[in-house]
């Protein structure tokens, strides 16, 4: 089968598998969440009935009132007594909002209300998202040299074989990232935020760092939060650094699977080096590999004799 036909087949296979995965997720979510939702609904009905019973309020006016309250609440405007002081659009919160916009996390706890705000968000996002990605890539390229290539060479020198060295290093990096960017911040959040448990903190960290950003948990939105601007800025920094580490993990994994031949097996694009770092030594040199599969998407340049220690040269030992 020629390579074009093969890639189409692979794609349809992937789509099918993806659909099955979604169906599976749907079934599980449905079976877990639905009973809880039904119970909550029953509670709400009881609450409304109770309220209506003991007061002179008619059902219609209560409905009206509730609809208005809920519409306002959707945009983050709360009618409760102790939330009149803090605004959702003071400078720190607006910056937090702008940050969720450009990192594509998008919690949605505050959303632009005005039309101009919406139009501005569109333009701001279209420019800011690629900009942020560029910054992340640049930072990760620098950090990669420090955190990945150095330690791998160290591991090699201490006697490990090249391929297991990369696997060991990846596992170590993974453990480090999970410890520092998931478990530790989760503990901090559960201590600082009043109503969050440790699992809630962990859930929040994960949902934010994968840029899913459901928005059911957002730090710093409880009324009466102390040092709110500082807290929000700290969360922003955490998000940015965490995203960088996730991207670093992803890139390391991609390079590792390149090395182990996974990406050429799945006919995926190989980990391309950007041509920005021409003015300094390249982080990864392309080597003259003879892979088992004849079809390769990216061209490999032969290795320079005087090159720096790089990830792919590890294969040659």
């Amino acid at each position: 089968m020629n390579s074009v036909g093969k890639s189409w087949l692979l794609l349809t296979g992937l789509i099918l598998f993806y659909i099955i995965y979604l169906l599976f997720g749907a079934l599980v979510f449905s079976s877990i969440e639905r009973p809880v939702e039904d119970e909550l609904r029953r509670d709400m009905e009881a609450l409304k009935a109770e309220f209506l019973n003991q007061s002179c309020v008619s059902a219609a006016s209560l409905e009206n009132f509730l609809v208005r309250v809920l519409t306002a609440n959707k945009y983050g405007v709360s009618v409760l007594r102790n939330s009149t002081v803090t605004s959702n659009w003071d400078l720190a919160s607006s910056m937090f909002f702008a940050n969720t916009l450009v990192t594509t996390v998008g919690y949605g706890h505050t959303t632009p209300l005005s039309d101009t705000g919406k139009a501005f968000s569109i333009v701001y996002a279209l420019i800011g998202v690629p900009f942020t990605m560029l910054v992340l890539t640049a930072c990760v390229q620098r950090i990669m040299y420090l955190l990945v290539i150095g330690p791998v060479c160290l591991l090699q020198r201490s006697g490990l074989e090249p391929r297991p060295a990369t696997v060991v290093h990846f596992v170590l990096l993974l453990v480090l990232v999970v410890l520092c960017f998931f478990l530790a911040p989760a503990a901090v959040f559960s201590a600082v935020e009043v109503s969050w448990s440790f699992l809630d903190g962990l859930y929040f960290c994960f949902i934010s760092l994968c840029t899913i950003g459901l928005g059911d948990f957002v730090p710093g939105t409880q009324p009466g939060q102390k040092y709110r601007p500082l807290y929000q800025v700290a969360v922003m920094v955490y998000l940015f650094v965490g995203l960088m580490m996730m991207y670093l993990l992803l890139r390391t994994f991609h390079k590792m699977s390149d090395l182990h031949g996974l990406t050429s097996f799945l006919q995926l694009p190989r980990c391309e080096e950007s041509d920005v770092d021409e003015d300094r030594e390249p982080i990864v040199d392309r080597e003259d590999r003879t892979p088992p599969q004849p079809t390769e998407k990216a061209a490999s340049r032969p290795l320079d004799p005087g090159s720096q220690p790089s990830y792919n040269t590890i294969n040659k030992g």
Binding site: L66, L80, T111
Partner: protein
């Protein structure tokens, strides 16, 4: 990338965020305050109208209602015939928003089990979706590339330059893609969901960049009856649209890189010019020194020959009175073509004396002799 470039870009991003923050604040805060005022007046009116309700009871009710809405249950209206938020098609949609990292948030898991499962599900699903996106983007790219190749063939007949063709094809790509993936769906959403034009475009952009606020979600209005295939078609549109947007965003990123490269080139050119200028100046300076030293050499030669003539006429032996200063030694070595005896002192085919400059040499001596060939 150099550290300087990275930190420069980082400061740019921070600046961009601050600018965005001030603009958002200026746009939204007045609106927010007016909303707050409106809802507070509502509350006071309600309390005034219904005297048997005290405000703490009302607060309680509102709190419970708000948290119920967060959980996805809308307490207003008749609760019994509302469709569940966790029926199969909505759960399917939710699973899709988790894996694509859009994460609308209008539905979110509330049980501990649901949350743990969500984490594990996303851990496996996001890379899976990444592969899928890569594959779809690839196919999209080849399909579009073939179309562009045909168009380029046509344009080449008009004898336009290569860069112009590139620019035209990029523009065509953006235009076509915007039409299919942004404009058309926006019109459809506007028609079906009843949003305004701006809101539809806003929804499309926020969804396809995977930001996904969740204030507008297609297919979630309870008052509308949707066709059965509406949600799956929306999901399919999200998939292909995401691939298109990823391509556009990476193209914008490439432009940034090209611009920074061009700036670097220009800076490099400027530096090269400066270096050239300095080299020119120092070469001229050296040339002047050379001419000066040759001039002195000529004069010395003439003086020496006159002295020799005089001494031969007067019968005095020239070699006793004259000291062999380094300069004269250089001179005699060069003249006698004895350069090979002083190999360490030769450079560029002429004799140098350990960097002696005209300042050190005697007026009668020559410190540097250049290119005596």
């Amino acid at each position: 990338m150099r550290w300087k470039t990275v930190s420069a870009i980082f400061f740019l991003v921070v600046l961009y965020l601050i600018i965005g923050a001030t603009v958002f604040k200026a746009l939204e805060q007045p609106h927010e305050s007016s909303q707050k005022l409106a809802i507070l007046t509502e509350k006071l009116e309600f309390l005034a109208m219904h005297a048997c309700v005290n405000s703490s009871e009302l607060e309680d009710l509102v709190k419970q209602v708000v948290s119920a809405v967060r959980a996805g249950v809308n307490p207003s209206g008749n609760l019994s015939n509302q469709t569940s938020l966790w029926d199969l098609s909505s759960s399917f949609f939710f699973a899709g928003t988790v894996i694509t990292t859009i994460g609308f948030g209008n539905i979110s898991p509330h049980t501990e089990g649901g949350r743990i499962f969500c984490i594990i599900y996303a851990l496996l699903g996001i890379p899976l979706f990444g592969f899928l996106l890569a594959g779809v983007g690839d196919q999209l790219g080849t399909i579009f590339g073939k179309g562009i190749a045909k168009v380029e063939k046509m344009i080449v007949k008009w004898k336009v330059s290569q860069t112009k063709i590139r620019v035209i094809s990029t523009l065509l790509f953006i235009l076509f893609g915007c039409l299919i993936f942004v404009a058309l769906p926006a019109v459809i959403f506007k028609h079906i969901e009843g949003w305004s034009t701006l809101e539809s475009i806003y929804f499309v952009v926020i969804t396809l960049t995977t930001i996904g606020f969740g204030d507008f979600v297609a297919g979630e209005k309870e008052t509308l009856e949707y066709l059965d295939y509406y949600k799956p078609v929306v999901w399919f549109w999200i998939l292909v649209g995401l691939a298109y947007f990823a391509a556009v965003l990476s193209m914008i990123g490439d432009w940034f890189r090209v611009i920074s490269k061009k700036t670097k080139e220009e800076v490099g050119e400027f530096r090269a010019h400066a270096a050239e200028w300095t080299a020119n100046v120092s070469a001229e300076f050296k040339e002047t020194r050379r001419r000066l030293s040759v001039d002195i050499y000529d004069k010395f030669q003439r003086a020496a020959s006159i002295k020799r003539k005089l001494s031969s006429e007067l019968g005095i032996n020239a070699s006793i009175n004259q000291e062999m200063t380094p300069g004269k030694r250089t001179l005699s070595a060069n003249l006698c073509e004895d350069r090979e005896t002083y190999p360490t002192l030769t450079r560029n085919g002429s004799l140098y004396l350990n960097g002696l400059s005209p300042d050190y040499a005697d007026r009668r001596e020559i410190a540097i002799i250049e290119n005596l060939k």
